[in-house]
Amino acid sequence: MSNNNANNNLIIAQRTVKQLRLEASIRRIKVSQAAAELRNFCLQNASKDPLLVGVPSSDNPFRPPNSCSLF
């Protein structure tokens, strides 16, 4: 019975080591490069971001238009 527990622990430990080996081996880039790309993405898309730049009330279905139209 105790062997089963030990075997379980072993399997878990083997899996943990295998997973850590995988994670340790991935290729990484420098934060400066990664951060620059995040910043550039923001800036390139800023003009198309309605919550950032705002859209005219008439275009935004959630903002009430300035005047009511009756039809």
Binding site: S2, N9, R21, Q33, A35, F41, L51
Partner: protein
């Protein structure tokens, strides 16, 4: 007052961790068994040493590339001005706490689910209710809209994820066409359709995530690796490939390969449960919100946390996060009833939104980025723009 007491009361049946490895018991009866025990013990301790060495190496490798902070790279970027965001619509109709919501791709319909078992589909422009379903369980913690807009998925304490096709006929009983897709061994915490109506990804209190075929209900792939309840998940934007990120009560955020079931990256910097994860629009990073009152940004290519969004005055947990279309703004719904808006690049808070009368439990930006919707324990949903 201690923050812990507030965070413990909101998650049903949450277990801090799955049964830990049972203590190794000694049974010295048979000599051969004793020798085997010793051998296993040695192997175990070797593995433990290797495991510790690898963890240290991982930290060192990550630290080597940490040459600058995100906000330093963003120093020359213009600051954001004052934001005027107000509640534009209030959706009333749920009889109890709103737990989850999702937008339809048509940018106008919303599905929401609540503690009282009701799932409601709304037209967010007119605030009309288009469909309502009563689930056989309470605490419907997860709901999602199908990409086609023709169905919704939901689940919670029933441990299942069910799909309801939406009928054009308002009088039709939706419950009759219900399809049970996912089966977990504990509560369903989150669900999401993949690119099509045909597959659903789920996360559960049983510590696993799983990918299911909607038509047959077959389990296509399961994802094991979290040591406790998984509370949230988000799929990578379709252009960036088949991965998703999950967050759990083990304080870890894991990135998974959907085809192989492998965990490819893991991040453990939060100090408490991770309630929400959301990919940055480019797919190269993701944000997380936690009971530790912080939101954090993790870059996938640098393989590390690159920003923390926090203030000393913010002491309540974050339940839900989402980005604006360009990724410049991060919206966080908090347990202190507010929504904080963060400048992702500079790390500063640009706005704080009041309106809800109880915890904000869920928050999503609309598909075209013109508005965002928040759901709360005050029984209402609000759209803001």
């Amino acid at each position: 007052f201690p923050k812990q007491t507030f965070s413990l009361c909101c998650k049903p049946f949450r277990c801090r961790s799955l049964p830990a490895r049972r203590k190794y018991m000694r049974s010295p009866l048979v000599p051969e068994m004793a020798t085997q025990e010793v051998q296993l013990n040695e192997t175990l301790s070797h593995l433990k040493t290797e495991s510790d060495t690898l963890k240290t190496k991982l930290e060192e490798e990550r630290a080597k590339l940490h040459d600058v902070e995100l906000h330093q790279v963003a120093e020359k970027v213009d600051g954001l001005g004052q934001f005027v965001m107000k509640t534009r619509r209030t959706l009333k109709g749920h009889g109890n706490k709103v737990l989850c919501m999702d937008w339809c791709k048509d940018k106008r319909r919303i599905v929401s689910s609540s503690q009282d078992g009701k799932v409601i589909v709304w037209d967010a422009f007119t605030t009309n209710k288009e469909h309502a379903v009563t689930m056989p369980c309470t605490w419907v913690m997860a709901c999602a809209y199908a990409p086609s807009g023709c169905a919704v998925a939901c689940g919670g304490l029933d441990n299942k994820c069910s799909v309801y096709p939406l009928s054009l006929d308002k009088n039709e009983n939706l419950a009759a066409k219900k399809k049970s897709v996912a089966m977990h061994t504990n509560y369903l915490s989150a669900c999401s359709f993949t690119n099509s109506d045909m597959q659903i990804l789920t996360s559960s209190g049983d510590g696993t995530c799983a990918l299911w075929d909607v038509e047959s209900g077959q389990l296509l792939q399961s994802f094991h690796g979290h040591a406790a309840d998984v509370l949230c998940l988000d799929l990578a934007p379709s252009e960036t490939g088949n991965t998703f990120v999950s967050g759990g009560c083990d304080k870890k955020a894991n990135v998974w390969d959907m085809r192989s079931g492998q965990c490819i990256q893991s991040f453990e910097t939060h100090e408490s449960d991770i309630n929400s994860v959301r990919y940055y629009p480019s797919g190269d990073a993701f944000a997380s919100g936690s009971d530790d009152a912080t939101c954090r940004l993790y870059d996938l290519r640098a393989d590390r946390e690159v920003a923390i969004y926090s203030k000393e005055s913010i002491i309540f947990g974050v339940s839900s996060v989402d980005f604006s279309l360009s990724g410049r703004l991060l919206f966080g719904g908090y347990n202190d009833y507010t929504i904080n808006v963060w400048d992702v690049l500079k790390g500063t808070r640009v706005s704080i939104l009041f309106g809800h009368e109880n915890r904000v439990s869920t928050l999503r930006v609309s598909p075209d980025g013109t508005a965002f919707c928040s759901g709360s324990w005050d029984h209402t949903l609000r759209t803001w723009a």
